[in-house]
Every structure is written in structure tokens, then in C-alpha cells.
Symmetry: C2
Subunit: 339 residues, 2 copies
DNA sequence: GGCGCCGATGTGAGCGATAACATTCCACCG
DNA sequence: CGGTGGAATGTTATCGCTCACATCGGCGCC
């Protein structure tokens, strides 16, 4: 056990530093803000005083005089879904690199009140901009009801808001479906994510359009909630109804896992009897039984792009209204040519 | 696309509200802080003015006069490991419930400079306390070098720091090992997490002690890095060296997945030939092939406890120096009685 | 040598809120 | 009917910092 930290009553101010260095507070201010026209010897003396007192400028006071806070607000749902949480992680790391801190609040659900409460919380922290990870359409609605005084950047795939960024779910779904079709599959069932998820909707649309373009019938999709458990239940239904299919395009890797589990219990083998494509490329996917073919998304890049956009918006630069990254297909052993 | 938000140049101040309501700014302050002795009619009038201008008190100004910021700082590594990220999620949700915002910064690695940079970032945001998710021992070292002016609460399982909270990894590892021993296993190999992870060290220690208490030899543990890939490689090594074992206690579920994958490739079946116990109970574990026996940790509860401790510390109340939650065993199909 | 200029530094105001103290107003009492 | 007390409200100082402007001092030039 370490000794308890000796807590100092009050922090030193710029005046304390000034007194110790024998200069005016304004000179100290110049030094800590790297202003020109401070003699080298003076700068040094001040710097020493700063170190000696371990002085840290008071952010609140700086904020009051209108200085940049280098703080951005981030709103997410509290879910541990791979997509949203990876996006957050990507943004966090980009923010760190740009020397920005992030004030984060989670909305307990998608009710407008919850979202607005979360927004209110971070807005209380002097943020330069707000980033909202809008996994659900309702979050967008809640947002629309607000008249905010800071710029907002939204992460969502519908393209309804501007500026918004996302990974192109529609394109990803098309690639996945094309892959299955190229392997000779014609009866391709889609296991979708929740209906109010915009990512899920886009993936569904991509699958449906691609099927249509190839003259294939797109049967009604079954809807899960992203969890492995829901995938499992859908897998069971799929086998019970005696539905005919040779391939499954599942809207995320976790549900794929559940589906494959249910299929295996019925003696249906992947990929011998049914090919399966997932979405996300979670770290586990490579080691599923069998290793899962899936769509990889570059969340780190997304995080970096988000921060770039935020900085552009904050500094009143031109920004692309709707920016999109494209997922890439990772072929593993869960898909194969139809016999 | 929604119409672009009309950005107002400057926010209304307490004086704007006061003027509109025809009272002094102090009366407005009383209303927004729910002070007594404001006539009901006045309160109403002020409230209306507040709403009309959608006035929000300026946090920086409040902070300057010493008011509580209702903001806590959180430091993590940017890893997406299930444990740390679930802890963060748990804390975030508890903070939301307590109307606290969270300023989050990730340390790019465990170098003291990285950690200190992250700490500096959040310390610039007027936090009432700092919570550090110290998954690695080195983070603790970096922290020890700092003389901070805010209370610090650490999430770490070694118990070196105070106050600290954690889930009792040692106890969990003991339970897992006991489970295997109770099933008749004697040759139990441990696949450990990285050596500088305190959780990994505690799990290793728990396994070793339990083995010793039962008069069993604990062979040298193999060390992974928490990823499924590392588990896979270790699984391969295990089979190559022709090591004798009937059970595997793997330090987390992801590595378990990799191990089982490697074993399956060599024709070794789980649980027929080898029993496997994981740790974490990630959502996927239930649908692994076979469903994984593992140790479940209550991260939500941990998050709540962290916030309680933070509040206690901030308000100078007595706190338990080292608090621990206990994981519970979830038995699934990857373990069975030794033939 | 005096003037002007510029680099280095100091002074004072003000950001938006709260706390402490001052004032007003009215009801109630002797 | 004046005095008194407490509720309601107003006034002022203050927090730590940066900005705008004031000041100071030395150097170069005519």
C-alpha cells in the first residue's frame, strides 16, 4: 500500500508563480502560452517557478476568458456492442494524439429524455464540439429536438444528418452478398440487426438490393438484437421452419456465432451444408469454429476521421457533409462454393 | 439532411435571464440552485426566462467560485480487453445515474510519460477525483511518481494502492481450479495473461496455490497476451510438446477460444479429451463450441462501487482501503468429470 | 544628443457565476 | 402607530486567467 497522497488545500495561481519568479502575472501567462517576446532568461526563471510549485493553469479560469477548452463531448449508448465501442476507442486515441480531452456520457436508452440528459451533462463541461454515436435512429430524433450552441458531428450510417461520418454499411452488405452469390449460392437468408439500428437497416438494404440485382428472391429477414443469444434463437427457428437456404448473411459476428451454434446442434455443418458470412471482424471471429468469413471495419481510421472533422468544424473550415469508409471482406473457412 | 444548426454567437448569461425576468442576477442564481426563500411567483417568472433563453449556467464560471464540478476523470489504456472496457462502461453508467460527467483519456501505452500525459489531459478539466483503471503494474508505478491535488481511486487487483477496488481475481482463479480438481483432474495446465498484468498475476497465483494445497504439481504456465490469437498459438505449442494434461485453466475467454481452436485442429476434443475453464464470461462464451465454463465478473456492480467510493472520498468520508467483489463460476459444457 | 521605435514587461478590466453582506418590505406586536 | 424581525431581494467582492493597453528602457539614426 502506498502512502496516502498529501492533499494540498489550494492550488498555486499564476500570481504565486509570478511572485516566486519575480515577474508580473502577465509574464507568467506569456511563458505558459508560448508567446513571443519574452527574454530567454526570464522564460527560464518562470519555468523554474512553475516546476517548483507544480503549477497547472486553472482550466475554468481559462475557459472564462474564452480560450479554447481542448475538450470535446461524446455521447453514446452504454452498450458494449463492438461497433460503437470500437468507434469510441478510436476517437479516444485520436483525441489523445491531438491533445484533446473527451467528456463522455452514456444515454441509458434511446428515449429523448435520456439522450438529452446525457447531452446536458457533457454540455456542462465546456466542450468545443459534440460527437454523437447514433447507433439508433431514435437518437437522431432526440438530437433534432435540441437547439445546441456547439457544433455537432454525428456518427451514423443513414446520412440523414450533416456533418456525419460512418462506415459504409450498405456497401459492406453488398460485398458480403456478392461473395456468397459468386460462390454459387442462391438461397441466401439474412439475419438482421434490430430494426431501429441504422447500421442494421443499411445492411439489410444492401443484401436486398444485391439479391434483386441478381434476380434472386430475398426472403423475409429475421431480426436479432446483435447478441449471440439472439443469433442462437434465430438459428433454431431457421432449422425448425424447414426453411431452404444454403447460405446465411448475418448482420454481425456475435449473432453469427449463435447461429452456427444452433445449426451445429441440429447437425447442420458450416461450411459443408451452409455458408455463413458475418460482419465486424471481431477479434474472436478468426478462431470461431469454423473461422468466420466477415466484413472488417476500420474503426481506428474512423476515430481519426471523426476528430479531423471535429477540428475542421470547430475552426470553421469546410467539411464534407457525409463521409464514409468502406469495409473489406475477410474470407475464412465459413464460406465455400456451393456443391 | 437536416438544416444546419444556427449557431448563436454568445450564450446568455445569468444577467440576461435576470433582465428578462425583471429581477437581480442573484435571484436567478437562487432559483437555478434551488435555494429557499424565493417567492413562488418569482421562481416561476425566472424559470420561464431561463426556458425562453434556453439558458445553461456556465460551468467554468461556477468552477471558479469553487463550486463542485460534478466531473470525474478516468484513465484507461486504449485496449478493448473485455475486463477494462466493461469496467469503464459500468462506471460510465453509474456516473450518469449520479449526474456526474466523466472526462476520459486513454494512455497509448504503459510508459510513465503516456500515463502522465493522459492524467494531465483530464486534470485540465476540473475533475473532483481521478479514477485509474490500472490493468498493468507499470501504470501504478507511473502514478506513484505523481503528486496530485485530487483524490485518486484505483481499479487494480494487487491491493498495492489505496483506496483501490477490484474483482477478486485470486479467489476466482481458486474457484476455477477447485472446479477442475473436483471433477477429478490432476494435470491442469494454466494459460496465463501477460506477466505485467496484475489480474493475470493474481489468477496465476490462485491457480498455483490451489494446486499446491491439493498436493498437485503446477507445471510452468504459458503466457499469452489476452488475444484469441495468442491462445491459438499456445494451444499449438501445448499439443506439439506432447505435454500431458487433462484440463486447461485459461486466464480469459478469448484465449480459451484460441486454445480450443488449436486443440480441435489436432483432433483433441473438448470436453471429451480436455476440460477447459475460461475467465470473464464474455457474451460469446455461451455460444462457443462447446459453450465455455468460465468465471463471471460483475462489472456493472464494480462500476457502481467505484462511483460510491469516489463520492465518499470526495466528501471526505471514511472508505474501505481495498474493496473486492467475487466472481462466480458458470458451468457450461467445456468441462466434465475425468474418465 | 534628441527623437522615435521596438522589444520586454507591467497594469487594469472583465469573463459568469456564487457568497457574504446590505437593504427593502411587510406583518405583527405592545 | 412606531418598533422589530424575518422573508425576499439587491449589491458588491471575488475566483484565476487573458486581453488590450500602458510603460519602460535601450539602440540606431540624423
Amino acid at each position: 500500500m502506498t502512502s496516502s497522497t498529501p492533499r494540498v488545500r489550494t492550488s498555486p495561481t499564476i500570481f504565486d508563480v509570478a511572485r516566486l519568479a519575480g515577474v508580473s502575472h502577465q509574464t507568467v501567462s506569456r511563458v505558459i502560452n508560448n508567446h513571443a517576446s519574452v527574454r530567454e532568461s526570464t522564460r527560464l526563471r518562470v519555468q523554474q517557478a512553475v516546476d517548483q510549485l507544480s503549477y497547472r493553469p486553472n482550466a475554468a479560469a481559462r475557459a472564462m476568458v474564452g480560450a479554447r477548452s481542448r475538450n470535446i463531448g461524446l455521447i453514446t449508448t452504454g452498450s458494449s456492442d463492438y461497433g460503437p465501442s470500437s468507434t469510441v476507442l478510436g476517437l479516444l486515441s485520436a483525441a489523445r494524439a491531438a491533445d484533446y480531452s473527451v467528456s463522455l456520457a452514456t444515454a441509458v436508452d434511446t428515449e429523448p429524455e435520456s439522450v438529452q440528459a446525457a447531452v446536458g451533462l457533457v454540455l456542462g463541461q465546456h466542450v468545443e464540439a459534440l460527437v454523437v454515436v447514433a447507433s439508433r435512429a431514435r437518437i437522431l430524433d432526440a438530437l433534432a429536438g435540441l437547439r445546441l450552441r456547439v457544433p455537432v458531428v454525428v456518427i451514423e450510417s443513414s446520412g440523414r444528418t450533416s456533418p456525419s461520418l460512418s462506415i459504409d454499411q450498405y456497401a459492406g452488405a453488398r460485398t458480403a452478398t456478392e461473395h456468397l452469390i459468386a460462390l454459387g449460392h442462391r438461397d441466401i437468408v439474412h439475419v438482421a440487426g434490430p430494426g431501429d439500428s441504422m447500421d442494421a437497416t443499411e445492411r439489410l438494404r444492401g443484401w436486398r438490393d444485391t439479391m434483386a440485382e441478381h434476380g434472386l428472391v430475398a426472403p423475409r429477414a429475421l431480426e436479432g438484437d446483435w447478441t449471440p443469444g439472439s443469433g442462437y434463437r434465430i438459428g433454431q427457428q431457421l432449422t425448425q421452419h424447414g426453411r431452404r437456404f444454403t447460405a446465411l448473411f448475418v448482420a454481425n459476428d456475435q449473432m453469427s456465432l449463435g447461429c452456427v451454434h444452433a445449426l451445429a446442434e441440429r447437425g447442420i455443418r458450416v461450411p459443408e451444408d451452409v455458408s455463413v458470412v458475418g460482419f465486424d471482424d471481431i477479434p474472436e471471429a478468426e478462431h470461431f469454429a469454423p473461422p468466420l468469413t466477415t466484413m472488417r471495419q476500420d474503426f481506428r481510421q474512423l476515430g481519426t476521421d471523426i476528430l479531423t472533422t471535429v477540428l475542421d468544424v470547430v475552426e470553421d473550415r469546410q467539411v464534407e457533409p457525409v463521409a464514409r469508409l468502406t469495409p473489406t471482406l475477410v474470407v475464412r473457412r465459413s464460406t465455400r462454393r456451393r456443391d
